[in-house]
Amino acid sequence: MNRIPAPHPIREIAALREKSRPLGVVSAAVGGLALAVVLGGITFVFAKYGIRREDRIAAALQSRELFTILVSGGLLGAGAAALGFGTYRRMPTRVSREEAIAGAVLGLQAAICGLALLWFIQGDMERFARNFLSFEQIVPQYGAFLNGARNTLVLAGAGEFFGVILGLVLSVFTISKRAAVRAPVRVYINLFRGTPLLLQLSLIYFGLALGLGVNMSAYTAAILAFSLNTGAYSAEVFRAGIQSIERSQMEAARGLGLGYMQSMRYVIVPQAVRRVIPPLMNEFVILIKDTSLIAFLGLSYAQRDLFTVGSQGYSQFFNATFYVASGLGYLVVTLPLIRLVTWVEKRLRSDLVGAGV
């Protein structure tokens, strides 16, 4: 296309653009509708057939209604995507441009969801529902899952609590100007950061508790391992936080006659802690999931964590719904925490702006 187009009078282009403006709203509406059809349709079908029994779920998945819904939603979505992507460049205003893009993206999501599900329900739905969505078998195990969730939280909570305290102490050593003080702590941190948590867990339990006869239950050994591991990671988080506080803060404190440790305690650490709360909370979310490694130690019935409850349920009943339920259990715990991290981050950011930092 090397041909130079004949120059259009600007007014004509503007008129052309003005004409395509309503298309933005149209594609947004169609895209939104498509996604609503797909998601709402799935909900509607399951509501109609019920999800308590696996055969009903299978029936829902194989129903004509779902097929129709997915096809029509997918097609609508594809249409919205084509319209939106085709027109967003020549939209006259920022708003109509955003509308076209939103419609295209929503439509694309509807089309992909619809098509993927269409492909999926061609498979053996009876077998799928029996193996993954057999919630009847889970309901009687409700208590075990609840207990598992509690154990997971206790393990992660205790590990995080002791780990953070350890990490704070270690971090103060890592910023020492004396190499002899820094070195051993660095060795510790690097050992724990450089080896798998599973290995640490095994060494501490099988090595210490069973091998050397140190009197320790698998549960205690696990809390110890999680604490030591979290200590190493949070030490690095605290170190970064402390080093992010301007050097002048330390000088102002020392200039008033406060000692080094006093300055740390009353001036540097309180400011650093605010900055490291979000990353520490993220560590906590990671630890919640990592507590599942305790499954390798062999736990008594009451000590089982969420993952162990799920996996033992699977071995007992040969049904993967136990894994699904265990996964849902983790989400129930972690999703609110993830939300909380986002909220805290926002709060702290606005606080710090207020504090002129």
Binding site: Q249, A252, G255, G257, Q271, G354
Partner: protein, 260 residues
Amino acid sequence: MSRAANALVWPAGPVPAGVPLIRLTAIHKWFGNLHVLKGIDLDLSPGHVLVVIGTSGSGKSTLLRCIDMLEEPTSGHVWFKGRDITDVRVNLNDVRTHMGIVFQAFNLFPHKTALGNITLALEKVLHMPRDQARERAMAELEHVGLGQKAHSHPGQLSGGQQQRVAIARALAMRPDLILFDEVTSALDPKLVAEVLAVMQRLASEGTTMVVVTHEMGFAREVGTHLVFMDEGVIVEQGEPKAVFDNPQDERTRRFLSSVL
């Protein structure tokens, strides 16, 4: 020894007769290969206002920070009330309790209120009971005209107000000496006056001060002694008006003509 008796022992207590409050002898400071201070000798007696002026990078801040040992001289000695505080056996925290320092960038503690900024060292260094510390902190804030801002955080204060809180924070310790490092340089011209007014009053009350500044009017009117530094040495010193009106050294003349 009881604390009351301790209060009379160095570094507390009066300046011994015939001895300056601060004496610097042959101070050299190297930052790696950079020779920043090249042999500084200086005496400061109680009640004096020593003003330090000089070109940017001439080592004024470094010199000031050597006085309270935030920066350790590479060689040379700093004497406080007759004792050498570069001696490693000296407890610098005790010495710094008797010196205040105010920085160009205020360096208030952002997580504490104006009041909390002042009471921290009163409680943790002077071991004052909380009520007494708050009382003194309030008095110091009133003194710099900020009584109504006691419960504001630094982020809620203007630059001039923050700097006055920083001055109050230093004053509250009742130091023998306060060091000011270009405390008005980060302020809008409108806010400079309010801070200078506070410093001028301190000088008239007989506070001993070392003031690094670019405010030549202040240097001339308030200073009792003036030092002009260039490239790590004291080029010229004397009574401020005399130096301003009749500079002896060519470098001083050039500097003064560039800033006046």
